[in-house]
């Protein structure tokens, strides 16, 4: 049995955990003090050597990403933290920044020092105002304490941090759309190359990292790459936050070494909703192919989940029991992608629109026999043909559900109705209606 290992989540829930005082009382900013005595290149090497992989979904090695920056040319280079957490099911960065904003800030300062950045940005989605308050407060406290600004702790290193709010657009989680949005434009993805490392924010070398990745950096700097590597698996090192939601007894955040299984996590979470059985689950958010109870023993690390046909993504483990109509769930996700498609490229804009239309009619009882083929065909015109990963991920739930539950779609079409009682899935007693 893999044991839980709260590191990034360890301060959550403590009294006034969001304050500088509470953070420093629990070892906060000690890693920064150590980092400022290191050579910047040595910090990059430590993070590279730790094997830390991006926690925002793609799993790209963080230190390697940093090392892609071209040599300094005297002009600015930027760190931009992707705090636009919006992938359905993903709910780890928001509580991290609400409870422990200084841990992110410490990671930001160390990373900026390592890559030679003097103005860092945290791009926060706009729909979480209390998190914004906590981040602004943390920046203010850090500035007053000499942890930000000029000559940080006497090191000669200067850093400004701007916390920026978006205004409601899932696409801004895509790093180049985020950069356009941060430049005051519509959040639409850019053509790559050039990659942000070469021409990112204001066309300058830029590193874009997820909140959880950056908040892991102080732990690695403080305790060493070897320690981090001793946790998790060979290719998925360290701890990560697993977010369980839906039909489980104790939904919430479970931080554990990478490679823990869903069976183990479900046991920790008290199992599936009492009196019910697991029907399907999403391993890494709604853009990753679904799993069924068959995959409960797949180690939840990057490579094992990929080998099993899905993606670790953001470890957003959404659980659905037997009361849930898979057609309805998938239809609702397609509503999401059609709503959030930025409209820049035709395959995604049109493809999600038509998939939404067909799924809605099947769910509402107006499905036609030929719809089964249409649902197979349209994704082929989107995946691999879209401008950015939003399009590539949009049909994942649909395509995997057709593989696992084809009969459920057929049944809707035959009956001309949805055979499920939707109220049976509610987490409150239908009586309260």
């Amino acid at each position: 049995m893999t044991a839980l290992m709260p590191l990034l989540t360890s301060r959550w829930g403590n009294p006034e955990s969001w304050t500088l005082k509470a953070y420093e009382a629990t070892g906060g900013y000690e890693a920064l003090a150590a980092a400022l005595k290191m050579e910047p290149a040595a910090i990059i090497d430590t993070v590279k050597d730790s094997g830390l992989r991006g926690r925002g979904g793609a799993g790209f090695p963080t230190g390697v990403k940093w090392s892609f920056l071209p040599p300094p040319d005297g002009g600015p280079r930027y760190l931009v933290v992707n705090a636009d957490e919006s992938e359905p099911g993903t709910c780890k960065d928001i509580p991290l920044m609400m409870a422990d904003p200084h841990s992110l800030l410490e990671g930001v300062i160390i990373t900026s020092f390592a890559i030679g950045c003097h103005h860092a940005f945290i791009y926060l989605r706009g729909e979480v105002v209390h998190v914004y308050r906590r981040l602004l407060n943390a920046v203010r406290e850090a500035k007053q304490a000499g942890l930000l600004g000029n000559n940080i702790k006497g090191s000669g290193f200067d850093l400004e941090v701007t916390v920026h709010t978006g205004a409601g657009a899932y696409i801004c989680g895509e790093e180049t759309a985020l950069l356009d949005s941060l430049e005051g434009r519509r959040g639409q993805p850019r053509l790559k190359p050039p990659f942000p490392a070469v021409a990112g924010l204001y066309a300058r070398p830029t590193v874009v990292n997820n909140v959880e990745s950056i908040a892991s950096v102080p732990w690695i700097v403080k305790n060493g790459a070897d320690w981090w590597k001793s946790i998790g698996t060979e290719k998925s090192t360290g701890v990560a936050i697993y977010s369980l939601s839906g039909h489980v007894e104790r939904p919430g955040q479970y931080e554990a070494p990478l490679g823990i299984t869903m069976r183990e996590l479900l046991e920790l979470a008290g199992g599936v909703r009492q009196g019910h059985q697991l029907k399907f689950w999403m391993p890494g958010g709604s853009s990753t192919p679904m799993f069924t109870p068959e995959q409960l023993d797949v180690p939840l690390d990057y490579d094992s989940v990929a080998a099993a046909g899905s993606m670790l993504g953001t470890r957003a483990l959404q659980c659905f029991d037997e009361t849930v109509c898979v057609v309805r769930a998938v239809s609702r996700w397609m509503d999401f992608y059609a709503h959030e498609s930025c409209g820049k490229c035709t395959p995604c804009r049109e493809g999600t629109f038509w998939l939404r239309s067909v799924l809605r009619r099947i769910e509402a009882g107006g499905g036609r026999p030929e719809d089964m083929q249409i649902l197979q065909d349209i994704p082929k015109s989107i995946v691999g043909r879209a401008f950015c990963p939003l399009g590539d991920g949009a049909p994942s739930a649909l395509t995997s559900s057709l593989k696992f539950f084809p009969e459920e779609y057929a049944r809707h079409i035959e009956l001309g109705a949805c055979p499920f009682d939707h109220a049976a899935s509610y987490l409150f007693e239908a009586v309260t209606l």
């Binding site: 403590n14 009294p15 709910c91 509580p95 209390h130 434009r185 320690w227 479970y254």
Partner: protein, 236 residues
């Protein structure tokens, strides 16, 4: 622009503070649109003109941005946005029923505002609180684990001017205009209100502590624990 002179002066002062946060003034556009919503309750034609003039953009460039983002409103918004999450997980766990109930109770549909200007009902997409499903956001403050009844109670409290506290947020839900100013980056002094976290956020941490395991910050300064040492041994 039909802003009163003193309003315009204040807007200009605030806008220059926002622009000072960025190496390039255009980056101020999103926060400035939030700021104008704190005056007009939506992105008004005046707001478009003001942002365009201030940032040396055309009105159509500003409109193109304003219409891209769902938090920017094209009609005067209610004092309180009731955002019910209807994305797959929250929706199926009961968000659908909550939305229906509120729609019936208020007599408005999606993105519509009650005649008294108090409430705008909105179907929202995933707000990163899935472990608290079903979730309702009131002016972008978290109301966790809602039921149709609890959602109506929130509305009744706000309508009657009774105290109304988000689950994870300040002691009292601010108005749409107040929150819009906060989102433009102006301190409202409320950061120290509300909890550190809700129960689901700490469920794993508490369980680890109960198991006498590896809770780290207990021994503070993170002298590195030997993580799951027993497991590693067992694996060998």
């Amino acid at each position: 622009m039909s802003y009163a002179p003193e309003t315009l002066r204040a807007l200009k002062r605030d806008a220059s503070q926002i622009m000072a946060r960025y190496p390039s003034p255009r980056s101020a556009l999103l926060p400035m649109l939030h700021l104008t919503q704190s005056i007009d309750g939506y992105v008004s034609p005046d707001a478009i003109a003001f942002c365009a003039e201030t940032l040396d953009l055309t009105a159509s460039e500003v409109s193109a941005v304003a219409t891209f983002y769902s938090q920017f409103k094209r009609q005067p918004n209610g004092q309180y946005t009731l955002g019910v999450c209807i994305t797959s997980l929250c929706g199926l766990m009961g968000g659908d029923a909550i939305y229906e109930r509120l729609s019936e109770y208020l007599g408005v549909g999606n993105d519509q505002t009650t005649d008294d200007g108090l409430f705008t009902l909105e179907k929202i997409e995933c707000n990163a609180a899935c472990d608290y499903a079903p979730v309702m956001m009131v002016n972008w403050e978290f109301f966790d684990n809602q039921t149709p009844t609890s959602a109506v109670e929130v509305v009744e409290a706000l309508r009657a001017g009774r105290p109304c506290r988000p689950t994870r947020g300040p002691d009292q839900v601010p108005t749409f205009k107040e929150v819009s100013r906060t989102l433009a980056g102006f301190d409202d002094g409320l950061a120290n209100q509300g909890p550190s976290a809700g129960a689901p956020s700490v469920v794993g941490k508490d369980l680890a502590a109960a198991q006498g395991g590896t809770s780290v910050v207990a021994d503070a300064a993170g002298s590195a624990p030997a993580p799951g040492a027993a497991d590693k041994e067992a694996d060998k």
